[in-house]
Amino acid sequence: MDSTATDAELVQQTLRGAREAFHHLTVRYYRPVGGFILKRVQRPDLVEDLVQETFLEAYKALKAGRRPLHFSSWLFGIAHNRCGKWLRRKRPTLFAPNEAPDLAVAPSEQALREELEEQEKQIAHLRSHLQGLPEETRRLLELKHRDGKTCEEIAAATGRPVGTIKSLLARTYKWLREALTPTSGGARP
């Protein structure tokens, strides 16, 4: 199966029962949908669940014969509804009823396409900034975010003091955060 196929072609193949085609769509949109959800719920720990539910719902709808005109904005619409459901759920008082924006109004198709562009741009920016980091710093971020290691574990693995690891991590986050904000900039860590 050709992973360079267009969305419409992959949707057609999914409709004909090719699960692999839907996997290509998942690979293509996993991160943009994740970024979209993150922006709305502002809770990194919830993103994975909501992304999975979004793709699952999309897959079920396609299997049921749904033929979206534009797959990406349709998918983002599902993600939007999933976030809305989560925000409107009967909340235990565990989390303060604040922070996340109200999602009562459904965005237009145009707005959803702009969202996709924005997310793709943000992902590309992040990738290019990460590529520009010194090897050691990039390795530190990999250990932290890809392997899920704590600073203590990284310190033990690299033989460096925990304080040094934390300082480097803090400087890197600050630089990345500022680099991703268009109006600001700073010295690379």
């Binding site: 699960r19 994740g34 993150l38 922006k39 994975e48 897959y59 992902i123 704590t150």
Partner: protein, 303 residues
Amino acid sequence: MNAMTCHDVEEQLDLLAADECDRPMRSAVERHLQECASCAARYAESQQLRGLLDLHWDAAGPERVRRRIEREERRARPRPVVLLFVRQAASLAALLLVTFGLGWLAPRTGTDESRPALQLSARVVRDDGPESKAKMMENVRPPVDIEREQGPAELVRLTLARGQSGHAFRAELRQAELDKKLPTPPEVPIALELSNNGGRSLQVRLGDAATRLTLEVRGNGVARVPAVGVAEPAFLRPRTLRLEPGEHEVLHIDRLIAGAPGRLEYIYLTEPGDYTLTARLRVTAGGTVATVTSPEIRVKVGH
């Protein structure tokens, strides 16, 4: 720790979002965030960055979606009648064999697909040793007092203090929440057992951003209150467990405290009657975020 300024807090926000603040610092920063809107907005940016970095390196995400779709399709497939009967009989046998039910499953990292890799069981701790008693004495405060029922049934008995209505208790809790002086929630002698029943070694991370303990308590009179700036229970301490096949780790719950690092809730039972408690633990296991659910425990609250 003294009250922190916005400048002090700003230095810590990225580390807090990455779960790398040590406990005293984290409590102080969280207290500041409760009261400072501009730092809270800055913290949202830190969380956004953390989420983007997690996504950037989450190469296995699409594969997990694929596996979930496959699981859902298997579940939705109609089962042959004979197989259904066999499964029901097996379920009944399992219930009889295990005194107090089995936990739930995820992720399937074992070689045998029909066998859940990670399970959670729950049991009432019957250890009434001196240490346990001392802890009870120290922590007992109105209006809850405890007895453990001896016997085969998994039942926790709690006793409300005489003379205080549920209504009065809840009013007291509301005030205590405002005053930020919440009473310690009731002690519950419950242990969760996280077992690796798969065929491979499994790495389980606790205390990271994915870790969350949900205590689903049902009954008339459950009060849940956000607990801000309180000490975190031991089960949320960041650590990594390596569970070999057949091994288990016991997590003591001790009190009705649930939630995630930095977002805790205290749970109180304010009316006499029967309650049920189900624990749901979300952890990172084998590189995947998995939620395991315990069987139900009965809780009886009397006068």
